[in-house]
């Protein structure tokens, strides 16, 4: 991410702050010519990860540090928070094998994150969670299928 065009921010994971961050991230990616799909998915991944911090990470009063980079073939992102250790890659998969009436309301956020990202890495460093993700830009997408 060092040579790419980079956006950095620090934000509390509250709905209002997340919405404001999403506005800035989409504007940044649009300004640098990133296609609408990659910009949307980057914003959605950030929104889900930050929301999860607030609802499950007990981090409402602790800001997370965000970095986004527009690279030629992808958008990369980094989210660092000081919450309890949590690897988003290990969250349980929601069940799709039940009818609409039985389907649980919830569990889709981190599933979406895993599906939208072309790569997703996690490390615990210096008492912080560090998540690094990538979203392929138009023309660089593989045949990533849904569930």
């Amino acid at each position: 991410m060092l040579d790419a065009i980079r956006f950095e921010a620090s934000t509390l994971p509250t709905p209002e702050a997340i919405a404001a961050l999403i506005d800035r991230v989409i504007a940044f990616l649009d300004q640098h010519g990133v296609d609408a799909r990659a910009a949307h998915h980057t914003a959605l991944v950030l929104s889900e990860v930050l929301t999860n911090l607030a609802t499950h990470g007990d981090c409402c009063d602790r800001p997370a540090n965000i970095a986004i980079a527009a690279e030629p073939d992808k958008v990369t992102g980094e989210v660092i928070d000081s919450g309890p250790p949590f690897d988003p890659r290990l969250a349980p998969e929601p069940s799709f094998d039940v009818g609409i009436a039985e389907r649980p309301i919830g569990g889709l956020g981190l599933f979406l994150v895993r599906k939208l990202c072309s790569s997703l890495e996690y490390a615990r460093r210096n008492g912080e969670n560090c998540m690094i993700f990538a979203i392929s830009r138009e023309g660089n997408r593989g045949d990533k299928k849904s569930h």
């Binding site: 999403i22 929301t51 609409i100 009436a101 956020g109 599933f111 979406l112 849904s146 569930h147």
Partner: protein, 121 residues
């Protein structure tokens, strides 16, 4: 009649076309707006066998909280013996619905006229 704009920018308007409630939503359906979205539209579901169509043409961002709101409404409509559909879903939002299995679970129509025709039948 619902005609409001949430603080996070989700604009919701409803009208009745024949026996179908048609809700036009505009903006983001995210963590800040979804609960109010489900609650406001849920107030329309008061009769038996309700027909509810939500036009997503103006919705450009749906998070898992937004999906939960849609699921709450679907369950409420189904519990009342009614029918639920979405129409005019934007490409990016459609991909989210595909990934999460909502496409298989819901009736999703390309356009409002097509949806109304199908719901009449």
């Amino acid at each position: 009649m619902i005609d409001c704009k949430d603080k996070d920018g989700t604009d919701i308007r409803d009208e009745r076309i024949g026996d179908t409630f048609v809700v036009t939503a505009k903006g983001r359906l995210d963590g800040g707006a979804s609960a109010a979205f489900a609650e406001k539209i849920g107030t329309l579901i008061t009769n038996e066998n309700p027909k509810l169509l939500i036009d997503f043409a103006g919705v450009d961002f749906v998070t898992s909280a937004g999906l939960r709101a849609v699921l709450v409404l679907v369950k409420k409509v189904k519990a009342a013996g009614g029918s639920f559909a979405l129409c005019s879903v934007q490409e990016q939002v459609r991909e989210v619905l595909d990934i999460t299995g909502f496409t298989d679970m819901l009736r999703i129509h390309a356009a409002r006229a097509e949806a109304l025709s199908a719901m009449r039948g």
